[in-house]
């Protein structure tokens, strides 16, 4: 609970807007409608998914450089999703994988800057790839920063804290 202490809860109205944003986003991912999703991120978006490890208590040293699976800005997100969205531009998503995004534990707080919200959630993705009918379950926690832009909520930052030290899937050609 430490990350929620000292935080300012948002109004019911804003909580409703935020959950709608988050659930809409999950549907866009399931439908692979990345074009619409990209219209809901800020130009300075940072999307990160660092590596996860297993450590004794107190032994996880601060790494100067953080390896991981995603460290994207808007340009690389556009490139990635363009590849996924078009038939035959990636072996990975031709045929497309089937994903279902389950989003829970959504909490929202006022961000430090005016017009921003800190949003945390848990996500479970059920995924089938063309070469395997056995599902892969991808579990993670998300730390998001949403920002008001011209009266609309947009995703400005997402830190995906994955739960698998060894990803039990040959690829991660999807977003969470």
């Amino acid at each position: 609970m430490s990350e929620s202490s000292q935080r300012v809860e948002v109004s019911d109205h804003d909580y409703r807007r935020i959950t709608t944003f988050v659930y809409d986003e999950a549907e866009l991912f399931e439908e692979k409608d990345y074009q619409t999703w990209l219209s809901r991120v800020t130009e300075d978006i940072s999307y990160q998914m660092p590596v996860r490890g297993v450590f004794e208590k107190g032994q996880q040293s601060e790494q100067k450089f953080q390896n991981g699976y995603f460290d994207d800005d808007l340009d690389s997100l556009i490139l990635r999703t363009t590849l996924w969205a078009q038939a035959s531009t990636t072996v990975a998503e031709s045929p497309p994988s089937i994903t279902r995004h389950f989003v829970t534990n959504i909490r929202a707080y006022a961000g430090e800057a005016a017009g921003t919200f800190q949003v945390t959630s848990n996500v479970l993705v059920f995924r089938i790839r063309s070469t395997s009918s056995t599902p892969h379950l991808f579990s993670c926690r998300r730390n998001d920063l949403l920002r008001e832009v011209d009266g609309e909520l947009k995703l400005a930052y997402r830190l995906v804290k994955m739960d698998e030290p060894v990803v039990q899937s040959p690829n991660l050609s999807f977003l969470v």
């Binding site: 990636t90 072996v91 991660l172």
Partner: protein, 440 residues
């Protein structure tokens, strides 16, 4: 050659060195896989880590050698040591974390402890309780032989294996181009990512030894986007890039830049002048026009290095990805991937290089995501009752072997083209030799 009927004790016969045909059992058969663990992974030198991962005394990382868990320890006496991660008492893991710093390792079952140099420190009961009937010298952690070259730490439990220098042989000339080109050498940028691929480990090792034509077939659109060259130009440079059969199963390719490609594209301008202190004229010449360098050190260590950009606003920067293909089962491997940079580079360059590496060559990478599906497809198409009786083809060697490059500056046999399958097939020739003789 009738390699449909082979002697199970001589699985090397499944590779025909004359014709380039390889029986697909090599890639899918559980018995062949079990034999590989004994005849290859337990016999030869295996990569376990880079010096920069365990730079301080007390640092350790846990690794896998074949199917055995091991600990790479920078012991308090300053040595790099590799232990079987198993308590000499009953075999439990004595370390269950990925990495850390500790003076000792503790068995979770009876609490036996071992110093980070592998020596038994304490038992469940006092040693006297054994009434002098037990030799406690037998109760230290089992240590592997350790060898270090260019910051790369290798180990083997085989006392009879030739030394690391002999195993690497001519590969050292090529390793130097990547790991030993500045006075301080390379360093890893963070911990390895790890993911499971549905394929035999050799598909990876062979792909990185390396396979030219797949780059355009599996990665065509991303290659055009990230490299900013038309497909025809990419094909042209790949077809005219040397493939080197280094010897001992090691292999690499060099894809040179196209005409007009500036020397040292994507390299760190701050460290390139340092290369002259470390590399020969021949090595420098090979490196400065290198667009793409890909290499496998037999059996399961590989790397790839080339300049990319995923943004039209930013110039290309080299990423440097090193990986191990862990042989989990006949049809499953773990890929462990690191990124590295010259230690002398500024943090800003390292961060840019790491970011581009993450975006291209990890489990979520815009290149790797395609390989993993192609490899899973090869596994599925080859593992059936009928499928495994068929042959995989490396028959481009029949043409490629005629195009030896007489003036190539590096050691080993360099052939004209990354399309030749010559360097790839070299991995399987060494595999054949070791599987036939039962060891190094």
């Amino acid at each position: 050659m009738k390699i449909e009927q082979f002697d199970p004790q001589r699985p090397g016969d499944l590779v025909d060195p004359e014709t380039g045909w390889v029986n697909r059992r090599v890639f899918v058969d559980a018995d062949v896989h079990a034999m590989e663990l004994k005849r290859i992974f337990a016999q030869t030198w295996l990569f376990v880590g880079h010096e920069s991962e365990v730079s301080a005394p007390g640092d350790y990382v846990t690794r896998i050698m074949g199917d055995d868990p091991v600990i790479l320890s920078h012991s308090s006496d300053g040595q790099f040591r590799v232990f079987l991660n198993a308590c000499p008492h009953r075999g439990a893991l004595v370390c269950r974390a990925d990495a850390g710093n500790s003076p000792s390792f503790n068995c979770p079952y009876h609490g036996w402890t071992f110093r980070n140099d592998g020596h038994l420190h304490s038992l469940a009961d006092k040693p006297e309780s054994y009434k002098n009937k037990v030799d406690f010298d037998d109760y230290n952690l089992v240590q592997a032989r350790v060898g270090v070259y260019a910051g790369l730490i290798f180990a083997t439990f085989n006392e009879a294996a030739p030394d690391l220098e002999t195993h690497l042989g001519n590969a050292r000339w090529y390793i130097d181009l990547f790991f030993n080109r500045t006075p301080n050498g390379a360093e890893v940028l963070g911990a390895p990512v790890k993911w499971v691929a549905n394929m035999n480990w050799k598909y990876g090792a062979i792909n990185f030894a390396a396979d030219g034509p797949h780059a355009l077939a599996a990665h065509g659109p991303i290659s055009r986007m990230a490299i900013d060259m038309p497909t025809e130009a990419l094909v042209e440079i790949a077809k005219n890039g040397p493939a080197v059969r280094i010897g001992n199963g090691h292999g690499c390719i060099f894809v040179p830049g196209p005409p007009g490609f500036p020397d040292w594209t994507g390299f760190d301008p701050a460290t390139v002048p340092l290369y002259e202190h470390m590399l020969s004229a021949g090595q420098l010449g090979q490196l400065k026009n290198m667009f793409n360098g890909v290499m496998t050190v037999f059996p399961n260590l590989s790397w790839v290095h080339f300049p990319v950009t995923l943004s039209p606003k930013k110039p290309p920067v080299n990423f440097f990805n090193m990986r191990v293909w862990q042989p989990t089962s006949a049809s499953s491997s773990e890929i462990w991937g690191w990124f590295l940079a010259d230690k002398e580079s500024a943090d800003e360059y390292k961060e840019a290089s790491l970011r581009l590496g993450i975006q291209t060559f990890t489990g979520a990478g815009t290149f790797d995501q395609d390989d993993s599906e192609a490899w899973a497809s090869m596994d599925l198409g080859s593992r059936g009752t009928i499928g495994r009786q068929r042959m995989s083809s490396f028959q481009m060697i029949l043409a490629g072997q005629e195009d030896l490059l007489p003036d190539f500056p590096g050691p080993g046999e360099a052939y004209h083209s990354t399309y030749s399958e010559m360097s790839e097939f070299g991995v399987l020739l060494k595999w054949r030799e070791m599987m036939q003789t039962g060891g190094a």
